[in-house]
């Protein structure tokens, strides 16, 4: 909707004299109360905050523990945009990133900044993330593209490789100085040989503009890029000094908790004031605080396990805890696509490692039969224990683990099960409790649940949850307890606040014993100084975020398929990979998305993170996206897909929809009942 048109809210026209306006600078310079009617964008915002404040002031106070006052004061602040953006806002909203295309009516209350967490009030665009009992899990099918695509992909790589070698050959002779660091020098072997770095130098450099793009601000619904150019074919990158705001469908911000405003950020601010920045040391050496213990109890409660421990880095959670679980004489059976941190951990554990085909239960079972019957290599002694390590949601494929299948095998083959829920915790399941929640199985049938806070919770670090015996063992024997710095109070607070928002806080008069998993959290288990605003504490906002995320996932996933693309992964997965195949298309896709009227930033991944042929673009859907944002992405993909010849999916003919059809039937596509 064009912004110049009259706004539906009458409040927009009478801008209050004493509004808690965000345009402080402007009022001072004479544009404030006495000036003529404010421009539409300004009035829009004030209408928003007005509607907001009014709606809040009449909402009932039910639970005394939850301070209402904080939500009122923050509501006016919540709609603040950063100063630098005022100008942009005054001029236009042509890219649709700063303001919603549809202004709110007075009944709709939004407490978030639209650029961080999009305003989307339509209840049609909500779904529940839940497995339908009795239905089979969609298997991971790797759809093949037409042969000419495969062929041209191989040819592309071949040309790249040949050209690279030719360039190296010629380059070493014509300009030896630029190869110096790859050659032995003054009796030192090169840190990086020309052979080892061939891929990086000759292939990755060509698309360096797709990687490591520096950004600033919140990695929310939109993100601010620091523009850069390269004068010398990506060998150096220079900043142009300008910035571009882009729609962010790349960050792991599944539930949209990456926010600089709102209840969680308020709690973090309070924690910085109370606790300072650091907790000064390892957990076992004087770096443990009451906040750590509370956080761990909350994580245990959230995941439905007996106990949990927290580690200050997600990668290190795997790499320092797995070695405390298995050692020489044990076997780790790992999915072939498991994350680098898992491989790191198993490698230093000293245990033997075997891999099975990605999410393939037949492959797992035949491997189990083989390893149990054969025992340890050479000696044939029985294995001490076997640990099967899988991920809940695979970060490159978007596949959900076949948890029912694995648990079935677990009964028969008596292995221990470790599920890395880095991407699935918070993002999957009707209550956001991960894959066990999604499939409706008891989390305690899994031995170890691991997850990270970097994704859905907008924080950092990771956790391990399991039985008390196991967790205590890991507290003492895991590497991080004794040696690694403990989590900082601010990060812990973000974890606690966002987790409590997903769970909802029970009224203080409910005894904590009566609360069963997966219920709300007892208010006594939270630090007393955390006053979540009512919408977060009631769990309403958390539920709405989960349902928005679930809708967005399914909508984007089904939409892309209907448009004729090849995608991987489970429809409920917030990770939606779209296959590109040809390496040249990655660069193009990335650039074309970024140069649209509404710039969109995407992640492209190629070999070695994926198999050689299946280069892809990976979308990470968030609850912060509105339905209109997904429309924007679908429109962009549709256009670019035609230009780059990407529509090779199995959906053909009449089943294929055009983009307008897809957008019009969004509610149907995004629902969970296909």
């Amino acid at each position: 909707m064009p912004l110049a048109s009259p706004l539906p809210s009458p409040m927009a026209l009478n801008r209050p004299q004493q509004s808690p306006s965000i345009f402080k600078k402007r009022s001072a310079s004479g544009l404030g109360s006495g000036s003529p009617l404010p421009s539409s964008a300004a009035s829009y915002l004030s209408a928003l905050s007005q509607a907001d404040a009014r709606a809040r002031s009449v909402s009932p106070t039910s639970t005394p523990a939850l301070s209402l006052s904080s939500s009122v004061t923050s509501s006016s602040e919540d709609t603040i945009l950063h100063e630098e953006e005022e100008d942009a806002l005054m001029n236009s909203n042509a890219d649709g990133l700063l303001l919603p295309t549809r202004p709110p009516n007075s009944a709709q209350v939004f407490s978030t900044v639209h650029t961080e967490f999009g305003h989307c009030a339509n209840d049609k665009y909500r779904t529940t993330s839940q497995h339908k009992l009795g239905t089979p899990l969609p298997t991971h099918v790797e759809q093949d593209p037409p042969y000419y695509i495969l062929l041209s992909t191989y040819v592309s790589y071949l040309i790249l490789i040949c050209l690279g070698h030719v360039r190296d050959f010629v380059g070493k002779r014509l300009s030896p100085s630029s190869y110096q660091h790859l050659m032995p020098q003054h009796g030192y072997a090169p840190l990086n040989s020309d052979f080892d770095s061939f891929y990086t130098r000759r292939l990755k450099t060509r698309m360096d503009e797709c990687f490591s793009q520096p950004v600033t601000g919140v990695a929310g619904r939109t993100i601010m890029l620091l523009d850069r150019t390269s004068p010398d074919y990506n060998h150096t990158q220079l900043f142009t000094g300008t910035r571009t705001r882009a729609l962010n469908i790349s960050s792991y911000n599944y539930l949209g908790f990456a926010q600089a405003r709102g209840g969680c950020a308020d709690a973090v601010e309070e924690s910085i004031k109370r606790y300072g920045i650091s907790s000064l040391g390892a957990r076992l050496e004087g770096g443990g605080t009451d906040l750590h213990n509370m956080g761990e109890a909350l994580v245990a409660n959230f995941t439905g396990m007996e106990d949990a421990l927290i580690c200050s880095m997600g990668f290190a959670t795997n790499s320092t805890i797995i070695p405390a679980l298995v050692s020489k004489g044990c076997l780790v059976i790992s999915d072939e696509l498991n994350h680098a941190s898992i491989r790191f951990g198993t490698r230093i554990s000293g245990a033997s490692v075997r891999m099975f085909k990605h999410n393939n239960m037949k492959s797992l079972e035949s491997l189990l039969k083989e390893v149990i019957s054969q025992g340890q290599p050479k000696t044939h002694r029985p294995w001490k224990k076997i640990l099967v390590v899988v991920e809940g949601l695979y970060s490159m494929e978007g596949t959900l683990v076949n948890l029912p299948g694995v648990l079935e095998l677990k009964k028969k083959y008596k292995f221990y099960l470790f599920v890395d829920e880095a991407h699935s915790i918070g993002a999957i399941g009707p209550r956001g409790r991960g894959v066990a929640d999604y499939f409706g199985v008891n989390p305690r049938s899994i031995d170890i649940l691991m997850g990270t806070f970097t994704k859905s919770f907008g924080a950092a670090g990771g956790y391990i949850a399991g039985s008390k015996t196991i967790i205590d063992h890991l507290r003492v024997n895991g590497h991080s307890g004794a040696y690694a710095e403990s989590m900082t109070p601010s990060v812990l607070t973000q974890v606690v606040a966002s987790m409590a928002s997903i769970m909802g806080v029970a009224p203080p008069d409910v005894p904590s014993k009566e609360i069963v998993h997966p219920g709300p959290v007892a208010s006594a288990s939270l630090p007393q100084w955390i006053n979540l605003p009512l919408n977060l504490a009631s769990g309403e906002e958390g539920t709405s975020r989960l349902r928005r995320l679930a809708f967005n996932c399914r909508y984007l996933h089904s939409g892309l398929i209907k448009l004729g693309f090849i995608t991987y992964g489970h429809p409920a997965s917030p990770i939606v990979p779209l296959l590109l195949f040809n390496p040249g298309k990655m660069n193009m896709f990335h650039k074309m998305m970024k140069q649209r009227q509404t710039p969109i930033v995407v992640v492209v991944v190629a070999y070695p993170a994926t198999p050689l042929v299946t280069s892809r673009v990976r979308f990470c859907v968030s609850a912060a996206h509105t339905k209109e944002d997904i429309d924007t992405v679908l429109r962009a993909c549709d256009e670019i897909g035609d230009v780059l010849d990407l529509k090779h999916g199995s959906v053909r003919g009449k089943d294929r929809w055009n983009v307008e059809q897809v957008i019009a039937r969004a509610a149907e596509l995004g629902s969970n009942d296909d």
Binding site: Y188, F257, A260
Partner: protein, 529 residues
């Protein structure tokens, strides 16, 4: 075939027989005509293309055949079982429990770990007693933890960036504040560049495998910290150990490696010396100028872990390079911890541009992990700003170190292996019994993990030291034993109490707290004698 030279004719006629049979069979395959026409016409258009396509085909077949999940059924040790036998074996197999319950000693140890209520700092409040106590356990060398300016900046940054970065550095996780901190560190130390990791402990175990691969040589101190040990392990390089902090022993090792290489005429491989600035195990300090001399002489690259020396020694806390007045560019990689040295979080590796850029693609815990929260990066930047402009912080810290050492050095019941200026002070129990002659060469403060006799002795000492720790805690001084993963370390260090002094305490407070420790030590070990 008209163009073929005369001499080739017999060969060609010889080949004609088998070739024609091959052709006829090929022609029988459906679709072969199409392929043939395609090959012919493409060859006609551009002969080079045939070669290209052939190469391509080979390449494609190779990738298709490469499967990472192949079973090693054809190994010589494979035993063929029937389906029934397999089922029986599966039925019979009983795994060990995933984790053993804690021993009573471990349990009481875990229960005795002090938990801080509220902010940690020089005088925190304890959960157990509800009272404040003097903290000689937590790392707060420069006292930045209670700095109000840093807190205020952190809140500002929170309101601009939120908390988490929600992405690894490669995928929109690189913030301007990360780049600023990297520049600040490089500038502070005087190196070309620096790279940030999101956890201090994971930094070195990621840096080592990024550079040192199978076949490369690592020479390392026998008592390096756990993270270095793990980094060396995962790199799969050839490793040689030298005696703890004994540069003579290092030189011997370097000479023997050189001899070996000359004898075998092996290729030139990457070679690294890895050691720590101030050792986490005992607070000893490496003689950096001598070390650099050796590294240059034998052409090794030096990886120096300054976790406990960065932000703690030197006039402005730059670490060993400042203390010994050595240009930082002489050390190939300086690793430090923003968590320990700057009271924030994360770690860094500073070095040349090439060293840093290489890690951006090859450092596992850099590439595969989310970047650190913006407000922590800015806190570290502010920390650098403060310490570089306030040398008095480190003067005060040194005063405290002197004061503490003046009290402790007088005691005969203990032994302090730490360097006199190190704010990390380890306290060993002095054992009076003579050192067994067999281990004369081996440092008497370390035991090999197999030496059960020594280990039992260590257990006794450990319990006594824990008594001291708890006694002091009751008197309002927080101390900690150096916690180690027993049985996982390469060498078992003698048990110790580890003090971490802070400039946030006054000299008086430090002296008072250390006196409490002294009295408790005398009480415990005096009684024993």
């Amino acid at each position: 075939m008209d163009g073929a030279p005369e001499s080739l004719i017999p060969v060609l006629s010889f080949l004609e027989g088998p070739l024609s049979t091959a052709l006829t069979t090929f022609n029988k395959i459906p679709g072969s005509a199409v392929i043939l026409r395609y090959v012919k016409s493409s060859h006609q258009n551009d002969p080079g293309r045939t070669i290209l396509e052939l190469l391509l085909l080979i390449f494609a077949i190779r990738t298709l055949l490469q499967s990472r999940t192949r079973a090693d059924r054809n190994g010589s040790h494979y035993i063929q079982f029937s389906e029934k036998e397999v089922d029986e074996l599966v039925e019979e197999w009983t795994p060990e429990p995933l984790a053993a319950p804690l021993t009573p000693a471990e349990q009481s140890d875990l229960a005795a770990v002090p938990i801080i209520a509220g902010p940690n700092g020089p005088r925190p409040k304890l959960v157990s007693t509800g009272k404040t106590a003097t903290n000689l356990a937590s790392f707060n060398f420069s006292g930045l933890s209670s700095n109000e300016h840093i807190k205020q900046r952190a809140v500002e940054i929170l309101r601009k960036y939120g908390l988490g970065s929600c992405g690894p550095p490669g995928f929109y996780g690189t913030l301007d504040v990360h780049m600023d901190l990297e520049n600040d560190i490089a500038d502070f130390l005087g190196t070309e560049a620096a790279i940030l990791y999101s956890q201090g402990f994971s930094t070195v175990s990621s840096v080592i495998p990024a550079f040192s691969k199978r076949g490369d040589i690592i020479v390392a101190d026998r008592a390096v910290n756990f993270a270095i040990q793990k980094g060396i392990e995962i790199s799969r390089s050839t490793v040689r150990w030298y005696d703890h902090n004994d540069l003579g022993s290092l030189e011997e090792v370097l000479i023997s490696i050189e001899k070996d290489r000359k004898r075998r005429r092996g290729p030139l491989t990457r070679r690294f010396i890895i050691t720590e600035g101030i050792f986490s195990k005992d607070g000893a300090m490496v003689d950096l100028p001598k070390l650099i001399e050796l590294k240059l002489k034998y052409k090794y690259r030096l990886i120096l872990d300054e976790t406990y020396s960065f932000g703690s020694v030197g006039r402005t806390g730059r670490g060993l390079t400042e203390l010994y007045n050595v240009p930082a560019s002489k050390v190939d990689m300086i690793l430090g911890s923003c968590a320990v040295g700057l009271n924030s979080c994360g770690g860094f590796c500073a070095g040349s541009q090439i060293v840093v850029d290489h890690q951006r693609i090859n450092g596992p815990s850099f590439v595969f992990s989310a970047s650190m929260p913006a407000l922590l990066a800015v806190s570290a930047s502010e920390g650098i700003n403060i310490i570089r402009n306030t040398p008095s912080i480190f003067e005060c810290l040194q005063t405290n170190v002197h004061a503490a050492r003046a009290i402790l050095d007088k005691l005969d019941c203990i032994l302090i292996p730490s360097h006199p200026v190190s704010p990390v002070i380890h306290i060993y129990v002095r054992t009076t019994d003579p050192v067994p002659p067999s281990s004369a060469k081996f440092n008497l403060t370390f035991a090999s993990p197999k030496d059960t006799l020594r280990l039992n002795e260590f257990d006794v000492e450990e319990r006594l030291l824990q008594e001291v720790v708890e006694d002091c805690l009751a008197q309002g001084v927080i101390l900690t034993r150096a916690k180690r993963l027993k049985g996982q370390e390469m060498v078992e260090p003698k048990p110790s109490i580890r003090l971490a002094l802070s400039s946030a305490l006054t000299k008086k407070e430090t002296e008072k707290a250390v006196s409490v420790l002294r009295n408790s030590l005398v009480k415990t070990f005096g009684r024993r004698r």
